[in-house]
């Protein structure tokens, strides 16, 4: 019992030292193990944070891989408690939440730049091609953002029926579709143009429901196929880099 108390006191002291050092100097001089150990001090692990951090890095390879691991993979690490595993998963989702401003309400697109930037954020960190559709009311306020399954855009082709279903369910007046390109190319393919043409014929400008734009997003840039405009949204995407 005494040994347990001494060990706990030692770990508390170690945690306090790590936190103080971070508060004073930042993380520049930290090793990966120390950074992970510092994070683990906010969990409820009953084992030494350094030992656990080393074991996790040995198992997964890098901090980034630890953040990418799923909950079950994390829980398979001996000594890692549930609260710490959940903390790691929360940490992994914070950049996406912060960059996309997920808590923001009453989104309205007053011009193509705003919509372009919105979709750049929507695709932040995406590693697969994905089609999304924004259903808008008569004042271009976002009613619903629907996401079509990952990887379906270029494989299974667009589902016109699903678009019609969403328009019907939401009572939308306007809608925008967007998809991302993986890699560097922002150019519209023949297929992208065909889809746009077909949707414009189905939902023309003077119709009770009309297609506003089709965006292509690649990294932090966007291209609007109908208007031909291009743009870039950089400011907030650099939140986690220098």
């Amino acid at each position: 019992m005494k040994a347990y108390k001494a060990e706990t006191a030692e770990r508390k002291e170690q945690a306090a030292q790590l936190r103080d050092r971070f508060a004073r100097e930042g993380l520049d001089s930290f090793t990966e193990t120390q950074v992970l150990a510092l994070l683990l001090t906010y969990g409820k692990t009953t084992v030494d944070e350094y030992t656990l951090a080393s074991a996790m890095l040995e198992h997964f390879g890098t901090l980034k891989k630890i953040l990418s691991a799923d909950y079950e993979q994390l829980m398979s690490i001996e000594g890692l408690d549930r609260i710490s595993a959940i903390l790691i998963k929360i940490m992994s989702m914070i950049p996406r939440y912060a960059v996309k401003d997920l808590g923001k309400k009453n989104i309205r697109f007053s011009n193509s730049d705003e919509a372009g930037e919105y979709f750049v954020r929507e695709y932040y960190g995406e590693r697969h091609e994905r089609l999304t559709m924004a259903a808008l009311d008569e004042k271009y306020r976002l009613i619903r953002l629907a996401s079509f399954d990952e990887g379906t855009y270029d494989v299974c082709r667009i589902s016109y029926q699903k678009i019609a279903d969403i328009l019907h369910e939401t009572g939308a007046r306007y809608f925008i579709i967007a998809h991302n390109h993986i890699g560097e190319a922002l150019e519209a393919s023949i297929y992208d143009k065909d889809v746009t043409d077909k949707l414009m014929k189905m939902y023309p400008r003077d119709n009770t429901i009309s297609l506003v734009e089709h965006y292509i997003v690649c990294q932090n840039k966007w291209r609007a196929i109908i208007s031909g405009k291009t743009g870039e949204a950089a400011e907030n995407l650099s939140l986690f880099t220098d």
Partner: protein
């Protein structure tokens, strides 16, 4: 107001419900103050942190601004002590650290030449007779190197299972197998042929790709996939 034991249970129930909601559906449907609640559970035990989350959002406007604020500013918000302020400012720094570290440490392995160029730098650290795997992500960045087993003493099935496990847990996209050879000859042995064929066949139809199987001699190397020998000169080294 004093916190009674019942209040403690009440808060713990709320915490557990919020965690379960997160585990089931991620953060997408969370309000910013609820995300902060989830975070503050880790620094403020056994009390209601909902108000603290609201205080932070009221003061800074968004989660992004909260985690971008400095420790001193965070500490002036009602209910946010120094421990919580340090933790909230750690979040952004943690991700910046990872981004910087990944960039600095990324070693690109896209083909046999780039693999050999890198592997010669670590050749002296390799144990002769051991088969190693360098696992690579979908951006051709080296993730890590691990030993797969003793080439002579481990059966090919076990070598394959060890490689499987490594690929799975590192989310690798492709890999290079290699071993150090201390003799003059770098031509493959019987065990190399069996292991290479076994791995190549196993991964042929899968999404993972065996880039190469390389034998690293002192000054020359042999690529089993490309069936050719190459030399490492001082310039390349």
């Amino acid at each position: 107001m004093m916190s009674s034991p019942n209040n403690g249970k009440l808060h713990e129930g709320h915490r557990e419900r919020l965690r379960k909601r997160f585990c089931n559906s991620g953060l997408d449907d969370f309000e910013p103050h609820e995300v902060l609640e989830l975070l503050l559970f880790h620094t403020i035990p056994r009390s209601n942190v909902n108000e603290h989350g609201h205080n932070l959002i009221n003061r800074f406007g968004s989660l992004k601004n909260v985690i971008s604020a400095d420790i001193g500013e965070l500490g002036t918000v009602k209910g946010i002590g120094s421990q919580s302020a340090v933790f909230l400012s750690f979040i952004k720094e943690f991700h910046k650290y990872i981004a910087k570290h990944e960039k600095e440490n990324s070693i690109i392995i896209s083909d046999t030449e780039t693999a050999v160029g890198y592997l010669y730098g670590i050749r002296q650290k390799l144990k002769p007779g051991i088969l190693y795997a360098a696992v690579i992500d979908d951006n051709k960045r080296l993730i890590k190197i691990e030993s797969i087993g003793d080439l002579m003493e481990t059966d090919p099935k076990t070598l394959r299972m060890t490689a499987d496990d490594l690929i799975y847990r590192t989310h690798a996209n492709s890999f290079v197998l290699f071993r150090r050879n201390d003799g003059v000859m770098v031509h493959p042995r019987h065990h190399d042929l069996i292991s290479c064929n076994n791995m190549r066949n196993a991964y042929m139809a899968s999404q993972f790709c065996l880039l190469d199987y390389v034998i690293l001699g002192e000054h020359n190397w042999y690529s089993m996939i490309e069936r050719r020998e190459g030399e490492m000169n001082n310039e390349s080294l």
